[in-house]
């Protein structure tokens, strides 16, 4: 018993002396709860909801389409943003590609003619409106929107049917109802310049998020290895042998860049071959391999720069593993890896814009889900390269100061 008490006292004493470790242990859950609660507050409906915005392009611009848009505005949880009448379908699709919206509804100029082509029994002969869906959005959100839209259209059909029997208790504009009852929505996912009816698979949705997350996790092996070199005097020995700060830090870049790229290849192979073997969907390869190379290189540079910054700042292995791990989780939570960005409240979405993981994720979504070309990823790649360069510069300054 005495030994146990002594051991307990010793352990409390040891733990209490590691202020940094303790701080991380307490700050991590606090920060995580704060970020995740704010990020998901709309999903769980505990606060005033920020509606998910979707674009509407009305090229018909007559009473009927205006009435349709008016009805659409009644769908709770979603907000219609009507685009200028002279906007094009291409611009509409691009707004989805950029991630501005999760859905876009196109009411064509020949809306009335298309409605007329559909029969009253609800058997569509042609799509009267098109619903474009961003492949990066989550299926449950898409289903929610589609269901709301379909139920509203079904109600119109029902009202129309009741009108026909003369037993409709609800006052309505018969002509309008008749028209809306004939609306048929064609849903398609926007993959680059083409549209497909097929929704992205779960493997297609998951690979980008976990790819960017795993890339940033080089912070743990890199910082602990760097720390070991620092603590064992190896860095001092290298310095005495004429190795400057620049070559030393750059010497870390290439190997970890190769590791990051290998991580990506492994994930692609798993998604392409291993997941189908276990009964899952197969990962579709990207349209633009150059785009993938650009965004994965930029993401890797940012991750390694950040890892080197952490490596030069921390003093113990415990600090390296906890600080590295915690910052990654926070980056992930902020960056939309754990909670999709578009379900976050507006102010959280703005914060998300400054998380390097968000840039990486958007870039990978561009190539894996939106099937964008190499130019599509350039903005995100630019931000990541800037972040990596700033981190590397700071790491250099800290390392020189350390010496």
């Amino acid at each position: 018993m005495t030994k146990l008490v002594a051991l307990l006292k010793k352990e409390f004493l040891v733990v209490s002396k590691d202020i940094h470790g303790l701080l991380v242990l307490f700050l991590m859950p606090a920060a995580f709860i704060l970020i995740m609660s704010l990020a998901t507050q709309d999903v769980f409906g505990t606060a005033k909801s920020s509606p998910i915005k979707y674009a509407v392009l009305d090229q018909y611009q007559q009473t009927l389409s205006i009435a349709l848009i008016q009805k659409l505005r009644d769908i709770k949880g979603f907000e219609a943003v009507v685009m200028p009448g002279d906007a094009t379908v291409v611009a509409l699709r691009e707004s989805l590609q950029r991630g501005d919206y999760q859905f876009a509804l196109h009411i064509p100029a020949d809306f009335a003619a298309r409605l007329a082509a559909n029969d009253e029994a609800g058997k569509p002969t042609t799509a009267s409106v098109e619903l474009f869906i961003a492949p990066a959005q989550k299926p449950y959100v898409q289903q929610l929107f589609s269901s709301a839209l379909q139920s509203f259209l079904s109600l119109a059909k029902l009202t129309l049917a009741l009108n026909a029997t003369g037993k409709n208790p609800l006052p309505a504009n018969p002509a309008e109802l008749e028209a809306l009852g004939r609306v048929h929505v064609a849903e398609s996912y926007v993959y680059g310049s083409r549209s497909e009816n097929k929704a992205p698979t779960s493997v297609q949705q998951n690979v980008p998020a976990w790819l960017v997350f795993s890339m940033f996790f080089v912070v743990i092996p890199l910082s602990t290895a760097f720390l070991a070199e620092k603590q064992h005097g190896t860095l001092q020995r290298l310095r005495l042998m004429g190795v400057g700060t620049g070559p030393l830090l750059l010497g870390k870049l290439l190997p970890y860049y190769v590791i990051n790229q290998a991580q990506m290849m492994v994930m692609l192979v798993v998604g392409r071959f291993a997941v189908p073997l276990l009964g899952g969907d197969q990962l579709n390869m990207v349209d633009s391999w150059l785009g993938l190379l650009i965004i994965s290189s930029a993401c890797s540079f940012a991750a390694i720069g950040f890892a080197l910054l952490i490596a030069t700042l921390v003093k113990t292995t415990m600090q390296a593993t906890t600080v590295g791990g915690v910052t990654n989780i926070i980056f992930g939570a902020l960056g939309g890896v754990m909670v999709p960005k578009f379900v976050m409240p507006d102010f959280m979405q703005r914060i998300t814009d400054v998380s390097p993981m968000a840039w990486g994720l958007e870039g990978f979504l561009d190539v894996f889900l939106r099937q964008g070309d190499w130019q599509t990823v350039l903005p995100e790649a630019g931000w990541l390269l800037l972040f990596g360069a700033l981190s590397l510069t700071a790491a250099t300054l800290f390392y020189r100061r350390l010496q």
């Binding site: 603590q231 064992h232 005097g233 190896t234 001092q236 020995r237 290298l238 310095r239 005495l240 042998m241 004429g242 190795v243 010496q403």
Partner: protein
Amino acid sequence: MYRIANLSKRHEGSRQPALNGVDLEIPRGSLFGLLGPNGAGKSTLLAIMLGLTKQSSGEVLFDGANLHGCLSRVRRVVALVPQDLAFYPMLTARENLRFFVSLLDLPAAEQRQRIEFSVATTGLEHDLDKRAQHFSGGLQRRLNLAIGLLSKPEVLCLDEPTVGIDPHSRNFILAAIKRLNQQGMTIVYTSHYMEEVQRICDRVAIIDRGRIVVSDTVDHLLHGGVDATLTIVLSGPVAKVVLAKLPPEPGLQAIDECTLQGMTPLPLPLLQAVAGAMAGTEVTIDRISYGRRELEQIFIALTERNE
């Protein structure tokens, strides 16, 4: 080779200077022992000599030139074998040696020769392809030394190179260092093992609280002057009682309950005084020794602190 004059260094945020007016000369070709208690300033002095940090004031001359004016030459001809095992444990000895030699910008043939020289000097021939992490403590120390030799330095600074190893490995390393010195390499050797310094060094400096308290040849320090050590071991724990009965400042001190010790050129009067002080007690003298001092005794006497 090194001439250090009035060297001082105060670390940022520290109230006490790490070095305070150090004057020292390390001749070319010497095997120079640098001794001092923990925190005495040895590492700071080494770091300044290697150009790793700058002094606050004072001057360091290397072959007559200001050290910071010829830093690139210093980096070429001075090597450090740090106390820590400064290599990559996951790599084999051969991989470590190849990596470190490749930093020296030498032709491939010269690189091979350097590795052969280092391996032959440290006796690592049979262990080159083992991972360093699987080495015994002695082999790890030898690899640490081998890496330091790759640059074939003119000056080799060794910071406690035999810490925590068995006597065989220690003897091997000491013999290797001695050989290197005989081949003309200047060695600066820091250690807490006094017998090592006494055994291999020809010159020694003792540093304490940032000051050089003695700098001399080992020979002169051990045999020079007239002082020798008198040790009186009593049969009972009355050393302090006996000491109290002696005249003020007797030249002896109680180093434990039974032992009196002091340095004196004239042991007989002291012995008589001790015998007189013991009169009337049942304690007798068990053993008396008088003679040449050990370096450790000198070190303790010069760096003794009232803490």
